[in-house]
């Protein structure tokens, strides 16, 4: 298995009638997903998509999103998942930055993508699930009609595992989202390593309420399809009670989540009415669980093994804590996953012994090929490894190790905020705040929040003659930022502390 879509193709050959995906009331076999992906791939090629083209997939979790991912790969193109919470200007930026050749999306999101594609000249085709009949024109076509009308004459694949499979955009401290370039080798390796230590099998039923635009969500599909498991896909985690009902009725065995989701579940008083006896594994990443949360989760789900993990989009997963270590070192994120080497370095890049604090470095087939068309950013993260031509990933995260080499998160080297498990660039939020007429100074920081981990707080100084309250500022941001980036708190200030050189000083702002 060399290519990412091979994992669907080989499972569809082996287990054609097995249920691959449950989405709402619908169930799809591996053979159905494979056939639809092949048809959509032909449809993409018929619309001019060629090897290496970037295809933006902009949709809520659903079967169309899963089919589009594999169709893009089969067509030899590069999957670019876009969070469905993205607003119009940012979508236009992403389409232009990647020069996406096509967009696969849904009618529900039309208010966002329609203006965005008019600003993105690279987009040749837009395939829309649920497009009203008769609405197709030059660029627009219906997803359903594309599947129905496709001829099955896919161009022969020229791909090897060094080709790009995906570009996943991530927030950067500069405020400009960066496209993480991942090859087929990167992604197949990561899925194989994670499945290895989790012990995922074809009997597992995975509940995925994480957005597939988030790599942790995307990998639930990849890892599940690799072993022939069933993935139960939820649109969102807005109604945890509904998700728990589904977990019980589908006999879910694996539940991946982020701390905010677990907090929402732990806030419920009616958990005991759901039969979750088959749940055998809970995984957490994106942000660390507190010790209290770990204890509460284990008390609520004593039948399930809890995996604490840590990762970066740049290499997917870095570490996991073997569950038998949870009582011994509950706050550790563990050690490197199989087929990956990790170590700490000092400021000079010198390798540090166990018991030190330093920046975490990652070496393995899962390490990205760099940031799309951003060589300076890439050079800061990818540096020469032990052998000629080899690059290793400098994570930008500070860790300490104990005497046995287990890792403990210390701090980020940049000022990225983690809210609801998502990375938020203060700069990106500040840029939007400066777009509000009359804003003179803006500073964004993360403040502790029980549910979100960190909440976004904005400090704003207005020019004379302008008067906004907290809600005006938040509303401005809601129209321009994904909801998890919108400030929860806004303080209108007479002035902000400045350094001697006139830069805003954030230390002390809270």
């Amino acid at each position: 298995m060399w290519l990412l879509h091979d994992l669907l193709e080989s499972t569809a050959r082996r287990l054609p009638e097995k249920i691959a995906l449950v989405a709402g009331a619908q169930r799809y076999t591996y053979a159905q997903i494979e056939a639809d992906a092949a048809r959509l791939a032909c449809g993409l090629q018929a619309r001019g998509v060629v090897h290496g083209d970037r295809i933006a997939i902009f949709a809520d979790n659903g079967v169309e999103l899963v089919v589009s991912i594999f169709a893009t790969l089969k067509a030899g193109a590069v999957v670019m998942p876009v969070n469905s919470l993205t607003k119009g200007d940012k979508l236009a930026y992403l389409l232009n930055d990647s020069r996406a050749a096509a967009v696969v999306t849904t009618q529900l999101l039309r208010g966002i993508w329609e203006p965005a594609i008019t600003q993105a000249p690279s987009v040749k085709a837009c395939i829309v699930a649920g497009l009203p009949a008769g609405d197709g024109d030059g660029k627009l076509s219906s997803y359903e009609a594309t599947l129905a009308g496709a001829s099955l004459g896919l161009e022969p694949s020229l791909l090897i595992d060094q080709h790009l499979a995906s570009i996943i955009y991530t927030s950067g401290s500069t405020g400009e989202p960066k496209g993480v370039m991942l090859t087929h080798l990167n992604m197949v390796s990561a899925a194989r390593s994670v499945n290895g230590y989790l012990g995922m099998t074809g009997d597992d039923v995975i509940l995925c309420a994480l957005p597939l635009a988030f790599d942790y969500g995307l990998y639930q599909i990849l890892m599940g399809f690799m072993v022939g498991a069933t993935v139960v896909l939820e649109r969102s985690f807005s109604f945890p009670v509904k998700v728990l009902e589904t977990m019980a009725s589908e006999g879910v065995t694996v539940f991946p989540g982020v701390p905010t989701m677990f907090s929402m579940i732990m806030g419920l008083n009616n958990l005991s009415q759901f039969d979750l006896r088959r749940l055998r594994m809970i995984t957490n990443t994106a942000a660390a669980l507190s010790e209290r949360h770990i204890q509460e989760l284990r008390a609520l789900f004593p039948q399930a093994t809890l995996f604490s993990m840590y990762g970066l989009t740049e290499c997917k997963r870095v570490t996991y804590l073997p569950p038998d270590q949870l009582d011994i070192r509950p706050t550790s994120v563990g050690r490197g996953m199989p087929n990956e080497e990790v170590w700490l370095v000092d400021e000079q890049g010198k390798r540090l012994p166990n018991g030190s604090t330093g920046e975490l470095v990652i070496r393995g087939s899962n390490v990205m090929r760099g940031y799309w068309e951003k060589p300076e950013h890439t050079a800061r993260r990818l540096k020469p490894g032990p052998y000629p031509g080899e690059m290793v990933l400098y994570s930008g995260d500070m860790f300490r190790t104990d005497e046995e080499g287990f890792l403990y998160f210390v701090a980020r080297k940049d000022d990225i905020i983690k809210s609801r498990g998502e990375k938020v660039s203060p700069k990106e939020v500040e840029n939007v705040l400066y777009g509000l007429d009359g804003v003179q100074d803006a500073a964004v920081v993360g403040v502790p929040d029980e549910l979100l981990g960190q909440a976004i707080k904005a400090f704003v100084v207005l020019r004379p003659g302008f008067k906004y309250d907290e809600k005006d500022v938040i509303r401005h941001c809601q129209g321009r930022l994904e909801s998890f980036m919108v400030p929860k708190h806004v303080a209108i200030m007479p002035e902000l502390p400045k350094t001697d050189t006139g830069k805003i000083k954030k230390t002390g702002l809270a």
Binding site: S236, F239, P240, Q478, F484
Partner: protein, 89 residues
């Protein structure tokens, strides 16, 4: 009274979640489908409903059928207000 419930909830959503301008919320629109409210936003909506209409939303009631459109919320609040006190949470 009927339209008053919807009006209050609509105003709360417009004040707290909507993307400025003159965005409209049809009575039957799913807040989730249209990305009007996200997962943590629903918790704020529930607090608002509890405070403004003097009811307690039990965990079992936190489902889209009760909360995921203006029509659903109005139906739910009216049902809860009409319910005998003995079934209160």
């Amino acid at each position: 009274m009927t339209s008053n419930i919807k009006q209050q909830v609509r105003q709360f959503i417009l004040d707290n979640f909507m993307m400025g301008g003159t965005a409209e919320i049809p009575d039957d629109a799913s807040f989730m489908d249209r990305h009007i409210i996200d997962s943590t936003g629903f918790l704020e909506l529930i607090s608002f409903v509890e405070e403004s209409f003097g009811i307690q939303v039990s965990d079992d009631d936190m489902v889209p059928e009760n909360l995921d459109s203006l029509n659903n919320i109005e139906r739910y609040i009216r049902k809860r207000r009409g319910a005998p006190a003995a079934t209160g949470q």
